[in-house]
Symmetry: C2
Subunit: 492 residues, 2 copies
């Protein structure tokens, strides 16, 4: 190892340690922090973000980076580390420290206001905090985009290599293909579970059962509860997620656990030598979401899945399950019906919720839409795409935490995740002799092994398009997802 | 405000933010982190500690500090901030980075060896690691003491302003006064609670009842569980503590909650403008411990306290309390009897455990005692002070983590806390027309208000001796504690 390489790895290690620390602060904020701690936490996270930024742009690293970038002795993984680190640094150099701190504090504040006001849908109380976030994100986008598409500059934080111009036709195809499927589904009678109580403690215990069943290692993780579920790598050997529990509806917890455990399995599957480097990551959020959507939609909604977990359901809910056929879960899990809340949407209408958000945030970032006009535009598009009207903004524009957190350009990655998940499910189906049979036989280790070798072990060694093309045998396209959704609606 | 003052407050603010972040990392490690996360967390905390040290000794702050130190326009609180910050910086500058790193590695090793060997009491396996810690602490003490008393240099980390020479006569007085009290107490029959089960969830709920009763604000706090109870300020409006729960003995949780809530009330009572400065602290660990010991021993052991919380006990433990008189709790809480383990000792013998440790660590730091001779000296003093003999070193010299962690000079602060608590209790008794009556009437708000105005609002604005002399009307002395312990033994 050269002296420059040692200095480089120290530097990316420190950056990784600071990111992990910020994750811990975010985790604690979502799960445990008392209300009185909000302002102080915002300040602490602002300071840590500033130190991270300062470390990332440290002038005395310029020589070291020059040296490692020109070192012909590096292997491919090392070259990728240098490339990723320099890309992060170059973005950070273009954002002044004051903007980074302002953004961190503004988003902490708006998240807190959002938490206080979302249930009542008090948009005017929230709008001021959100407007400040939008103002700062526009400023950041302008600095990063060099006069090009400002949205792409923000999208790049989550989906490197993607562009608004390539996403627009994808959403056009989905917005054309999905509504007829929703209409078909509407002809079937609703299939909700009958009303009864599902105790929270038993639901959390079931969440642990399910996560362990599909391979999540609790010795290197923790399952908590929060209003908005998250998965976070806090540090080496510490990948946590939260679930959301509604004692009137057990499907929310089950779907959330399958989803978040999918994310967590991905991060638990990163190779050990990626630790403390930019390789310790997915190449994009779309790639990450492919894992959560695969387990949530392509495993966790099949009749074979429900048959497999029936003993767990009966053990955890002896009373609620006493007179209930597990087929009721299987039917309810694929009940397709337009609804107002994205996180409770079925997998068919889900992508319409994303199309709506993509359209609106594109307008917000470009400056074509202002924060005051957001609720009315939200209502207009909800009617157009889903045929519904929210009763108040808590069921509409205030339902998601993302914009409060400054996450513009994030929503499309959910649909990209759905697209990649459908491609991966087709590949897994071929590879494993049918996913239905594998689930029925409880061969979750085989399914995880497929995903480990095709996706997880590559961590951030390769860009998303390469990774997914090799994993699925095909470039990104809408056909596998539309085929899958068509089968769901047909009840196949 | 001058430009230098702004730079100074930014700097102390960043240091405070880093300390708060380290507290969060420690809190999470003790309460929630999965076992697999230990190595990664150690690395993250190491990185944050390094960044804190680097910030503390930042060369470009020298000019700013010169300027604020010579600014005649500062008020007393500002001068105190400058003085405290410069003292911390000057200590950090006097220890070479290599010694800090060696100490960090040596204490990590000795803590690990201690964890592996303490239960078996395998002292020879532990002695080598401990000897290295002692060697390095002696080196640090030599660098910091300028040829003076080396123990004082280490004591200063925990009890600024205290000296071995002033502690020795205090411990002499206690070691003379306490053993006769222990002999008196031995004539009374043991008074343990009868064996039954006290469910953990109900104990935690009772902990919340008690903490709220004495004024702890849960909207700015959180009560968790850990093997070793702690109180931590994570950030502004976020002061947390943990309790330890033994389902066979409810007194451990009750005593722990009263103790830790005492610490937490202190930190919740710091004035808002101390935030993000060195004023946001107790002036010493002894001052801090005065608060925990006051609530634990001077409030939480009185018969009036047990009578007051009887309805809570009956509500939380309907089964265990069914045939139990609350007087049994009052008797068990003041049962005095020599024992081997400090953390399980009654409030009378407790100070003999500290006297033993003070004598031994003074010898170790001065070089009058070597690590090999420590177990035999421990046994000799245990017999002399407590009339007992440990069966193995796990019940003796290996019972505490402190020395393995390099914490020499910490133990005396426990007894200083007991001394100050007794003086404060006498003052409160005078001020409030009798503590017995105040507790019997549930006037906990009055008791807290006494402590808020006498101690809490002063935070770290004044040194401990000044603070306590004004709060209690007398200089530090042993008479109030000895009087109190005499009343405890007499059953008054």
């Amino acid at each position: 190892m050269t002296k420059a390489w040692t200095a480089f790895t120290d530097w990316i290690g420190t950056l990784s340690d600071l990111s992990g620390t910020l994750s811990l602060m975010g985790w604690d904020r979502e799960t445990l922090m008392p209300p009185g701690g909000a302002d102080g936490r915002a300040r602490h996270m602002g300071t840590l973000s500033t130190l991270h930024h300062r470390e990332l742009v440290r002038p005395d690293m310029a020589g070291v980076l020059d040296e490692v970038a020109n070192d012909d002795g590096l292997d491919a993984a090392q070259r990728r580390q240098v490339e990723l680190a320099m890309r992060h640094r170059s973005k950070a150099e273009r954002l002044p420290e004051s903007l980074v701190r302002d953004l961190s504090e503004a988003t902490s504040r708006s998240v807190n206001v959002w938490i206080e006001t979302r249930n009542t849908g008090d948009y005017p109380a929230y709008a001021q905090a959100l407007a400040e976030v939008v103002r700062l994100k526009r400023a950041a986008a302008a600095l990063l985009s060099d006069g090009g598409e400002p949205y792409d500059a923000l999208l790049d934080d989550f989906e490197p290599g993607a562009h608004a111009a390539s996403l627009e036709p994808i959403f056009d195809e989905l917005v054309a293909a999905i509504p007829p499927l929703v209409d078909d589904a509407a002809s079937r009678a609703p299939a909700p579970l009958p009303g009864r109580t599902w105790p929270a403690e038993a639901q959390l215990a079931l969440g642990h059962d399910l996560a362990e069943m599909i391979g999540y290692d609790l010795g290197r993780g923790f399952i908590g509860r929060s209003a908005h579920p998250v998965t976070m790598t806090i540090g080496r050997g510490d990948v946590r997620f939260t679930t959301r529990i509604d004692t009137g509806n057990p499907l929310i917890n089950i779907g959330t656990v399958m989803h978040e455990a999918g994310h967590a399995l991905y991060e638990q599957g990163f190779p050990a030598d990626a630790w403390r480097s930019p390789l310790q990551d997915a190449p994009s959020m779309g790639a990450h979401e492919s894992q959560s959507r695969f387990w949530e939609n392509h495993i966790g909604r099949r009749p074979q899945f429900w048959a497999r977990i029936e003993p767990m359901l009966r053990a955890r809910f002896p009373e609620a399950m006493a007179d209930l056929d597990v087929g009721r879960f299987a039917d309810a899990a694929v009940d397709v019906r337009p609804s107002l809340i994205r996180t409770e949407a079925d997998e068919v209408t889900y992508n319409l919720h994303i199309a709506l958000r993509f359209t609106l945030e594109l307008g917000l970032v470009r400056g074509d839409l202002e924060v005051e006009a957001l609720p009315s535009e939200w209502r207009r598009l909800t009617t157009e795409l889903l045929g519904l009207q929210p009763e108040h903004d808590g069921q509409g524009v205030m339902q998601d935490i993302h914009w409060a957190e400054g996450l513009f350009g994030y929503f499309p990655t959910y649909t990209l995740g759905n697209l990649y998940a459908a491609q991966l499910a087709e590949a897994a189906d071929r590879d494993l002799g049918g996913l239905d049979a594998a689930i029925a036989a409880g061969r979750f280790a085989d399914i995880l092994s497929f995903m480990r070798t095709r996706v997880h072990v590559h961590a951030n060694l390769r860009p998303t398009d390469e990774l997914m093309r090799d994993a699925t045998g095909a470039p990104l396209g809408t056909r596998p997802l539309i085929d899958h959704l068509t089968r769901v609606v047909a009840g196949e």
